[in-house]
């Protein structure tokens, strides 16, 4: 809300220091968003007096003047020095008071005043004309001020045009502060100053308003109070300057005297008003029959802004028997607004339900100064005073007459709330010792009635005293009706603390027992996941949780088991209109982004939620996933390195590291068929299992999937389910004795068909190895049609044999080795190469 300090000063004394005022407001809950100085256009323009006037030596129409500007120009010795100004005007004499633009001033027209020479004579400023100051058309000479005008005063101050307008952020719980008087009361409480309430003198004439208007309120809950006044014989026209100035300072555009008065009252008291053109409301009987009723579903209504809107039953309209004429609390109608032709005005002052107003405003996307106030709450009690004030002012500025009386339908009257204020409890909550006097004073300044609580045990002794002669610890507080936020004791606590100053409370740390700072098992495992993936060279990133519908299809990812996508009702963009079901598409977009920016080494991972909806379920299922990808090549070209292109095994290696760190038992990578994982390249895809539980998948993304995301192969990706992973993880690995006795290592190259996997061979070897086989490691895979055979490969393994309790003899090792080889041969048809 914009608050003109010049205006506010009429109701409460303000500190001179605007910055200090702003700080105090900031700290007590009224945010100062901006401080705007009007009259800034007259910066560096001051009042002066022509001390000397002499003819210019080289000109017959120029004058060389010495102008006294008081303190505005100081000489080197610090005393005021007159300025030498060359002036071309002919309408002045020495001794005249003038407006002087100093060097550096920028005139309203944009001209900048510089020190200059006019025909060889230095000129340090300008004596201004009215037109040059933007004050009028007068340009026949300079502006001559009255003889008594002070010298050296900022021109804006002299003209009383200087104002400071604060743009205040009023929190939604303080509807009372959306008004000048409300802010005056707030500042009065802050500085312990009295507030001068504005007053008016209403003169009513003969005819009664009720002869003109009837009012009927359909649903009291929607409209607690509706009043109408009638002003006759008004002339609609421009507002007087003071009114236009006030309305402008508050941020509105002056329209005409009638609308400006309604806005003025809105800004002054926070009471929205609406002025109808009475004639356009008249029924055939010559009266306006106002009905406040719910809108009909689908009812069409054209608001003041010229837009036709479709209404809902939840909205409220002000109507005549014939038609709706205003959207209650939000905006008036186009065909009943006050125009130049209006002579009789029906002035509405009412309150409408915050909830209905808020929903109406949100449903129509229509926010007005009125709706903003109604949805926060307008007090129905002072309406009589406010509408009287408004009517008096309308009569004054429009030359009309106010009909006597007020048509007032007031089905629900807001009553003040009675509260108790426990001083001890208050200080215990704050952690301070705020004196009782301060509490009472502050609450009173804020508009509460404060008294001793009666019937409280503490005050059972003499009145106002406790049993032990102490003052009662409990105050009785009546909260004013303009403060709907003061409903409970705690709300009063906040008020007193706020005004006392939160900064004055001593900072302490809670002394609570029984608090333990600990990371959950999940959090600990998650930290391991992060550390391990980073150690594998992956960089954590964060992509949007939003996704594009059909994104999974483009990725070729089978979505059937994932439930349906969670749809946003009001997305910002179509490509962010559902919630993601996989992290991979987001990461792939980052791959494309990086590749288009020339980055070749892309290693990304993300931990985050994916979302699955189900018909009939309110809240979707959220699963935490960890996904990562390797795109391009490992490392950069260096003087001593060549980047190696990523393949399946980079992904698998990262997962193997991760599984080792999490001590996941019975780990198995099982090849995925193309039907099982269409988004992956067949033959380079695997599911990751721990025993019987599926943890996720790893593989090279299918070229078609990459194409759909403008990403360039190779991209190796994985996505794991975090819950399954953490469940499979063990807190620690087991200790295994470090061997004491020497091992015997024997190599064997097995020639097998292409479809025999490493895993299968490993199973055979481990199965037949018995207790002596300690380790099997693959050290070569070799294919050669000539030497190995078509459709075959040679897999070379090193088998390590060891006994835990003795040195193994070569005979024992040979025997075990032979048994293994025979087993592998029998099970897989393997041939031993080179035998």
């Amino acid at each position: 809300m914009k608050v003109s300090l010049k205006w506010l000063k009429e109701y409460v004394a303000l500190p001179d220091d605007v910055k200090a005022l702003c700080d105090r407001l900031d700290l007590t809950g009224t945010g100062v968003e901006a401080v705007e100085k009007t009259g800034a256009a007259f910066d560096k323009i001051v009042t002066g007096r022509i001390a000397e006037k002499a003819a210019h030596p080289d000109s017959d129409h120029l004058w060389v003047t010495k102008v006294d500007v008081g303190e505005a120009n100081l000489g080197e010795d610090g005393t005021p020095q007159p300025l030498q100004i060359v002036c071309g005007a002919q309408n002045f004499d020495a001794g005249d008071h003038v407006a002087v633009a100093l060097v550096g001033a920028v005139l309203p027209g944009g001209a900048q005043i510089k020190k200059s020479k006019l025909r060889g004579v230095t000129s340090c400023g300008m004596n201004c004309s009215e037109r040059e100051l933007g004050l009028g058309a007068e340009h026949d000479g300079i502006m001559i001020l009255p003889a008594g005008a002070p010298v050296g005063l900022p021109f804006a101050d002299y003209m009383q045009m200087g104002d400071v307008v604060l743009d205040l952020e009023i929190t939604p719980n303080r509807p009372d502060c959306l008004s000048m008087v409300g802010m005056a009361r707030e500042i009065g409480a802050l500085y312990n100053e009295d507030v001068t309430w504005p007053s008016h003198e209403l003169v009513e004439v003969g005819e009664a308003a009720s002869d003109y208007v009837t009012v009927e309120v359909g649903e009291a809950a929607r409209c607690p109070r509706y009043t109408a006044r009638v002003i006759k014989g008004a002339t609609v026209g421009p507002s007087p300057d003071w009114l236009a100035e006030r309305v402008t300072a508050a941020g509105a555009r002056p329209i005409n005297n009638v609308v400006d008065v309604t806005n003025y009252i809105l800004f002054l008291f926070g009471q929205p008003l609406h002025a109808f053109d009475f004639d356009s409301l008249k029924s055939p009987d010559g009266k306006a029959h106002i009905v406040v009723r719910p809108a009909e579903e689908g009812e069409r209504f054209t608001t003041l802004d010229g837009e036709e809107r479709s209404l809902k039953g939840d909205m409220t309209v002000i109507a005549t028997p014939e038609r709706a004429v205003a959207l209650a609390g939000v905006m008036g109608g186009q065909d009943s607004e006050v125009t130049e032709a209006t002579t009789t005005i029906l002035l509405e002052a009412a309150t409408f339900s915050p909830a209905h107003t808020s929903r109406t405003s949100r449903n129509l996307g229509l926010i007005s100064e009125s709706s903003m106030r109604y949805e926060r709450g307008v007090d129905d009690n002072p309406i009589g005073f406010n509408t009287d004030f408004a009517a008096a002012l309308l009569a004054e500025v429009s030359g009309g007459e106010v009909c006597s009386g007020i048509v007032d339908v007031w089905p629900v009257k807001t009553e003040p709330v009675n509260l108790l204020f426990h001083l001890e409890r208050f200080n215990a909550m704050v952690g301070a010792d705020i004196p009782r006097e301060f509490v009472c004073e502050t609450l009173a300044r804020l508009g509460c009635e404060v008294g001793e609580a009666l019937g409280e045990p503490e005050s059972a002794g003499e009145p106002g005293r406790g049993l032990h002669g102490k003052q009662a610890e409990v105050l009785r507080v009546v909260a004013p009706t303009f403060r709907p936020d003061l409903e409970r004791e705690i709300d009063l606590f906040e008020e007193v603390l706020r005004i006392y100053g939160m900064d004055r409370v001593e900072p302490t740390l809670p002394g609570g027992r029984g608090r333990i700072g600990v990371r959950s098992v999940f959090e600990q495992a998650l930290a391991t996941v992060h550390a391990s993936l980073r150690a594998s060279g992956l960089n954590e990133t964060m992509t949007y949780s939003f996704a594009e519908p059909g994104e999974l299809g483009r990725l070729r990812m089978a979505a059937d088991e994932m439930g349906c996508a969670v749809e946003l009702i009001n997305p910002i963009n179509a490509d962010q209109s559902v919630m993601r079901q996989s992290i991979i598409p987001g990461l792939l977009k980052s791959v494309a982004y990086n590749q288009s920016h020339g980055v070749k080494n892309i290693q990304l991972y993300e931990v985050g939620a994916v979302f699955f909806g189900a018909e009939g379920k309110k809240q979707p299922k959220e699963k935490q996933k960890v996904a990562g990808l390797f795109a391009g090549a490992m490392g950069e070209v260096g003087w001593n390195t060549q980047p190696a292109g990523f393949d399946f095994f980079d992904g698998k290696g990262a997962l193997e590291n991760l599984m080792r760190e999490l001590a996941v038992p019975r780990l198995r990578f099982k090849a995925l068929e193309s039907a099982e994982a269409p988004h992956l390249q067949p033959g380079r895809a695997a599911a990751l299992w721990s025993g019987g539980s599926l943890l996720g998948w790893v593989g090279e993304l299918h070229p078609l999937a990459l194409e759909a995301f403008d990403a360039v192969a190779p991209v190796v990706a994985f996505e794991l389910d975090l819950a399954a992973l953490v469940k499979a993880a063990r807190p620690a690995r087991d200790y295994i004795d470090i061997p004491v006795f020497p091992a015997v290592t024997m190599d064997v190259a097995l020639v097998v068909d292409e479809d025999v996997t490493h895993e299968r061979l490993l199973q055979c070897m481990v199965g037949a190895g018995g207790s002596l086989l300690e380790q099997v490691s693959l050290f070569d895979v070799y294919r050669d049609e000539q030497r190995v055979g078509q459709g075959k490969k040679s897999m070379a393994y090193a088998l390590v044999y060891r006994a835990a309790d003795r040195t193994l003899t070569s005979a024992e090792a040979d025997k075990a080795h032979e048994r293994i080889i025979n087993k592998v041969k029998g099970a897989t048809g393997a041939e031993v190469r080179g035998s």
């Binding site: 007590t28 705690i490 939160m502 980073r534 964060m542 309110k618």
Partner: protein, 393 residues
């Protein structure tokens, strides 16, 4: 040999003078004596020559390989000295002791010389190897490229660690929330403007329930992590000391200073005797840990539906030290979080006795801290996944 001929000539001469037998005996004895002298001298001479040869070879060898050949030639199975030592047995009885002694001494000396030279040569060779393997130390190192933590996670961790240190635990909750947990149980009035379509992302309610306002829904993307506070209070008895980090969503179009998805960390304390001073002290401690011991904090009264009293927290500007600059828009302060004492109504929703317990809550935006601490100029960089950005942290 001249000596021998002379002896033979002398022998003939003597035979002529003396009787054959007698002279022969004398002569033989004499011959033996003379020859013994000669043989000793010859052997001595030969050993000396050999010794000189060997020592010259040792000192003359330039490489360890050369030296080893010298060793083989002298002390090896077929080496000269070995052969010499082997031949001692065939020497006359009288010479053996002398020759044996001399030869053995020589072997000891040769072995020592070999060792010494070997040490010398090893040292040379190592020095040469070291010389040859010197590198340009200004060449780039061979880095193992470690992955990096995302800036937002890094800050989240930092904040979490500070609070773990003063006895808080970490709680998590769903990102798609119901109106109840995001608004209602947090005391937000049913028609609070923040519930508007312009601010909150609503999700299609698949349960079939209809919302009061067209276009809204009972299901939404959480606009704050506060819902988790409610869930914690439902599930756990006080004392409660938790922080809740997580993603939240607000309907802002992405631009340099807004993202529709960002990260929040909230804290909640519920215990006996918790005061507003405790809230101030806690946040003061946090800000000093997070931003530096020289930073000041201030609390400004504010309004949030779920706390009462409510406040916003500013930390003094680190660039101008509170003097006022462009960064802090001339105020000297940077707003970093909202906080307040838990509203008794919120306790009412979760069944905690507001007479027995008090508490406070606070919440901060991690992206905001990222901007304040790391000067990130455009928040969108945080969700682009640009490797050049990610690798900076």
């Amino acid at each position: 040999m001249a000596v021998r001929e002379e002896i033979d000539a002398l022998k003939a001469e003597i035979q002529g003078v003396l009787g054959k037998t007698e002279s022969t005996q004398i002569l033989e004895r004499l011959k033996a004596e003379v020859l013994a002298v000669i043989s000793k001298e010859e052997n001595q001479q030969a050993i000396l020559t050999l010794r000189t040869e060997i020592f010259n070879a040792i000192t003359g060898s330039k490489t360890l390989q050369d030296l080893d050949q010298v060793r083989v030639r002298t002390l090896g199975k077929l080496g000269i000295l070995t052969a010499y030592l082997g031949s001692i047995g065939s020497l006359p009885q009288g010479e053996r002791a002398f020759v044996g002694k001399t030869a053995n001494e020589m072997r000891v000396a040769v072995e020592a010389a070999l060792e010494a030279r070997k040490a010398e040569l090893s040292a040379f060779e190592m020095a040469a190897r070291i010389d040859a393997s010197a590198v340009d130390v200004t060449l780039p190192g061979r880095a193992q490229q470690m992955g990096t933590r995302h800036l937002i996670s890094r800050i989240t961790d930092e904040v979490a660690e500070i609070f773990l240190g003063i006895g808080y635990s970490v709680a998590q909750g769903p990102e798609v929330e119901t109106d109840y947990y995001n608004f209602e149980a947090l005391n937000a009035p049913p028609d609070h403007p923040s519930r508007g379509l312009a601010d909150t992302f609503y999700v299609r309610d698949l349960s079939g329930a209809a919302a009061a306002v067209t276009g809204e829904s009972d299901v939404l993307l959480r606009t704050q992590t506060s819902g988790v506070q409610v869930r914690v209070m439902e599930q756990q008895k006080p004392p409660i000391y938790v922080i809740v980090p997580g993603k939240v969503y607000r309907r802002d179009v992405a631009d340099p200073s807004h993202l529709p998805q960002f990260t929040q960390i909230e804290g909640l304390v519920v215990d006996k005797g918790i005061t507003f001073g405790d809230l101030k002290g806690t946040l003061d401690y946090f800000c000093k840990q997070m931003f530096g011991q020289d930073r000041k904090t201030r609390v400004r009264a504010h309004y949030f539906p779920f706390t009462e009293p409510s406040a916003e927290v500013d930390v003094s500007c680190g660039i101008c030290q509170g003097e006022g600059c462009r960064f802090c828009k001339g105020t000297g302060w940077l707003e970093i979080m909202g906080c307040g004492m838990v509203d008794p109504n919120v306790f009412g929703y979760v069944g905690i006795d507001a007479q027995e317990y008090t508490g406070f809550a606070f919440g901060m935006g991690v992206e905001r801290i990222a901007c304040l601490k790391y000067n990130v100029p455009d928040l969108r960089m945080l969700v682009e996944g640009d490797m050049r950005f990610l690798r900076q942290f």
